[in-house]
């Protein structure tokens, strides 16, 4: 393959920006000191970390730098927030979350419920992925320790009304946490004027390094550390700071702030052109999620009667990278919990493909995908026993077991 690859899987992870890598490198070699040390090696690193923390607080619109607690990624930030709330909110034992959260939240709360440590309310979504606000209101009570609902969904891009949800949570004295891993750097934030108590983010989703993230903890919200030990991060996350990654994230955050407007203009325009073009060229396909209320970079299209892994393999051969909510790609046997929660019919859920853009994509990428997809879909539909019989397939295709 001589043509350059087209990377449209930025919700999975992004390319570390070369400027980020450049900013990190000295902290592996020359400035390798431990930020806690008394000598000059340490204090230089400490200063660089403070600057990175300031940049991150600015991107979030946080009032104080010390509201940022660095973690080993988005997953750790989510775990820290939820487990901490169960400890600090004495007498409250319930967690409210949504059916479409990332496994970083869902797997944790399921485990907490299973081991008898919390009662969990999972709020359903409608066919467009929008939260059932009435069910949420009913679930809130003086037993609610914490609400954890994502700012935007990683598979469909659907944005939740977190500000409203946070105020409702405060109405019953509950804490509100949001997994904003897919949102930070794409949508401007102003947390100092927000009701959100805690917010998770992850470096590798905004052209920063992997394995670094942060939990924003509003001043005054009590936090019980997940990892205990030394006094790093003011005792809220022990362990020698991952200085190169923190500084890399600082650079990534500066770049994200500089390019923020581009997300809503250029990136969104690329996404919209791809989406309209695919729907126009390929029949029996539709967009999943809340189309009017989405991240500007994400588009999830279900191609009916074919299976996602097969689509991705053929796309990969054309040098195009995307991802699928299909069962087969993940190794789980059922299609994505997000699409199932939205009740997307099985005829389509297995063939859902997520295209996620970043500021590094170009018009040429969109052209390539628009050209490559129709024959791929056609080839697989040709092979599918359901395609030719799509209107009558229940009658004609009569499997012996199902």
């Amino acid at each position: 393959m001589t043509v350059s690859p087209v990377y449209l899987d930025n919700n999975a992870t992004t390319r570390c920006d070369p400027e980020v890598v450049a900013a990190m490198l000295p902290f592996f070699t020359e400035q390798f000191g431990n930020a806690s040390s008394m000598h000059a090696f340490g204090s230089e690193v400490g200063g660089a970390i403070a600057k990175a923390r300031r940049a991150l607080a600015d991107l979030l619109g946080a009032e104080f730098d010390h509201e940022i607690v660095y973690t080993g990624g988005g997953t750790e930030a989510d775990s820290t927030a939820i487990l901490s709330a169960l400890e600090t909110q004495t007498g409250r034992t319930e967690i409210i979350t949504s059916a479409v959260e990332h496994p970083a939240v869902l797997t944790l709360v399921a485990h907490l419920e299973k081991t008898g440590r919390a009662k969990v309310h999972v709020i359903p979504v409608d066919a467009r992925g929008r939260l059932d606000i009435e069910a949420y209101a009913r679930a809130l009570s003086d037993k609610t320790a914490i609400v954890s609902i994502m700012w935007a969904n990683n598979e469909t891009g659907t944005i939740f009304p977190v500000e409203q949800l946070a105020r409702m949570a405060h109405g019953v004295g509950a804490l509100f946490h949001t997994d904003a891993v897919q949102v930070v750097g794409k949508i401007p934030m102003d947390l100092k004027n927000s009701a959100i108590d805690m917010l998770s983010l992850s470096g590798h989703k905004l052209h920063g390094p992997k394995g670094i993230g942060a939990l924003y903890v509003r001043k005054g919200v009590r936090l019980r550390p997940l990892i205990r030990g030394g006094h790093q991060e003011r005792g809220r996350r022990a362990g020698t700071e991952n200085a190169p990654a923190i500084i890399g994230l600082g650079k990534a955050v500066e770049l994200a702030a500089a390019h923020m407007a581009q997300e809503q203009t250029t990136v969104k325009a690329l996404r919209d052109r791809l989406e309209a073009g695919l729907l126009q060229r390929i029949g029996n396909s539709f967009v999943t999620g809340d189309v009017e209320n989405r991240l500007p970079n994400t588009c999830n299209i279900a191609f009916e009667y074919i299976e996602g892994e097969a689509i991705l393999l053929l796309m990969n051969r054309e040098g195009i990278a995307a991802s699928s909510g299909s069962a087969c790609t993940s190794g789980s046997l059922e299609p994505s919990h997000v699409l199932r929660a939205m009740n997307i019919p099985y005829t389509a859920a297995h063939g859902a493909i997520r295209f996620s853009f970043s500021r590094e994509n170009s018009e040429g990428d969109v052209d390539r995908v628009l050209e490559a997809m129709p024959p791929i879909i056609e080839k697989l539909r040709d092979m599918s026993p359901f395609w030719r019989e799509r209107d009558v397939h229940t009658a004609a295709f009569n499997p012996t077991y199902a």
């Binding site: 069910a135 009913r138 299976e307 026993p385």
Partner: protein, 308 residues
Amino acid sequence: MWEYSEKVKDYFFNPKNSGILEDADGVGDVGAISCGDALRLMIKVDQPTQTIIDAKFQTFGCGSAIASSSALTELIIGKTIEEAMGLTNQDIAEFLGGLPPEKMHCSVMGQEALHAAIANYRGEVWVDDHEEGALICKCFGIDEGMIERTVRTNGLTSIEEITNYTKAGGGCSTCAEGIEEVLARVNAEMVAEGALAADRAFVAGAAPLPVKEKKVVSVNAGANTSKPLTNLQKIRLIEETLESIRPSLQRDGGDCELVDVEGNRVMVKLTGACVGCHLSSATIEGVQARLVEALGMPLLVIPVTNVH
């Protein structure tokens, strides 16, 4: 990304014999769109010699499902019906230079389709699986006969392997207990027949086998001896207990209804918030725990979905 062999990739990218076989003598349909893969196999048979002279397939599924279907057609063309009946999923996997463990179910689907097509050719209705035992996994429609056959053909000794080969247990996983019972029984039979070393056999309730360690096999699968309740008492108690749980489910916008009771299997229908989310299995476990407590006997709560 899966690690597919070159041959799997080749058969996926350039499948042989895909399409429709006009005037086929036998057609076998297996799988369903809800399960994520389905295969239609069409065969043409030369009557005097009982030889399969042509075969074509149509497949809805992942890369390895398509490759397995294509491999199947290549394997059976030129074989007599009798020879083809002897083909196993192992033959399909071997032909392809192996399949990732999680994808072995694709080869099993191939074997199933072949049996279905031959039955159709012979004018039989292909139902043998379903007569061989209870439906074990509701999520994927896998019954006892299918699990038993796959365990025997492939010498399986763990739940994970059964999930990889048949999908059973890969959804809500409430059928794990049922799978364990079948596996323990079949492994014990295989040991008795000399088809399996005693120290490799799965024993229900035992800790996973440490690699290469001798173990005394004491099969006590499904040890369910005392039966103090009559059927009617049992159903009443189940109903009462479910009624006491429902209010808390309804608060979450969900609900749980009793559909049927068969032996120690309690079929329930979950609606609303509980359905389709990963937590539905947590809900089921909760319901199951309450029922077991109330009845004082082992029970298996099985969600019956209306999606499938």
